[in-house]
Subunit: 198 residues, 2 copies
């Protein structure tokens, strides 16, 4: 993240990106409720009113943009290949668990967002996680253009996976157990997903 | 639900139960944010200040009591039997899907509570859903006293199941597909749960 002095010299596009980065860091660290626009403006080295120029809807629309960015970031880290598909699962899983262990900001914002009761956030989550479900349909089933019902089952899998992560955070499961559970259950969930489409 | 006049003649225990019933109905219909203590007091036919006599923490503690009551209500509808266990799953599933289709208030409050970002609600959810995980461990694995990790995997299954229900609510899956997915995936999830405990 550039410091406040550098921020003043940015072009509009670079400024918008910089604002997203600064906001991602603050939301990841403090959560949605405890972060306000003044914090973000201060960290970005701009006036609070200028934030509304970039994000007209204020804090909520800034947050939605950050959340979309975070999901896209996570999706971009997946390896996707319709041929080697299912074999990639352990790698993709390991990558994601590594991100969480490293306190990755995108992973943290996505995790927290599950608990926010805002229609815009729910809508963003559903749309953005659909992209990951699509990647999973390619990898697990070799389906480039799956029916909606297939995507739905993979989205439900993501809720299952986050449930496992929450138990891991509580110390009730360890990382090896999380990996073992996914290795056993994902093939069955993929088979069930395929069945809904036939 | 008794009407306001009857409510005035209740014993303290019956009054508390009546307040929980009235609150369950209002929370199910309006959600947490849009329900306030005045609505509840009015529907119960008592003064608002008297509510604090029964629920000292006000709205949040009343809600937590309602949520515990709702979870217990859902758990009580499960058929549990360590011998016939896995064979009961289709019945238990059907019962729960019937409740949802009928707009059952307990099921509705539990569903909404997943989206509330309150520490007390999260804690209640984790504790209360643990009781259902325990029932699942008996039915699916014949385990009366399972290790924590087994319960954790069944709790993650519940998140998966609610993900399926959400997709059903969106019209992306139909009820038959939800039943089919659970029939295929639950045995694999139960096997994975058992593995974590060995």
């Amino acid at each position: 993240v550039a410091d406040a002095k550098q921020a003043r010299r940015l072009t509009p596009d670079a400024r918008r990106r910089h604002l997203l980065e600064v906001s991602l860091t603050l939301f990841a660290r403090q959560g949605y409720s405890d972060t306000d626009l003044s914090d973000i403006a201060e960290a970005a080295g701009i006036r609070r009113t200028l934030l509304y120029h970039y994000f007209e809807g204020g804090k909520e629309s800034l947050y939605v943009a950050v959340l979309q960015h975070a999901w896209a970031d996570l999706a971009s880290r997946m390896t996707i290949d319709p041929v080697r598909g299912p074999g990639l699962m352990p790698d993709n899983l390991r990558t994601y668990l590594d991100l969480i262990e490293a306190g990755d900001e995108s992973a943290e914002v996505v995790r927290q967002s599950r608990r926010l009761d805002l229609a815009s956030v729910k809508e963003t989550t559903r749309t953005a996680s659909r992209a990951i479900a699509q990647n999973m349909a390619i990898n697990q089933l070799g389906m480039e253009d799956p029916p909606e019902s297939v995507l739905s089952v993979f989205q439900a899998f993501m809720a299952f996976f986050e449930g496992l992560l929450e138990e891991w955070a509580h110390g009730a499961l360890d990382r090896t157990q999380v990996e073992g559970v996914v290795a056993i259950t994902l093939p069955a969930i993929a088979a069930a997903a395929r069945d809904t489409g036939s």
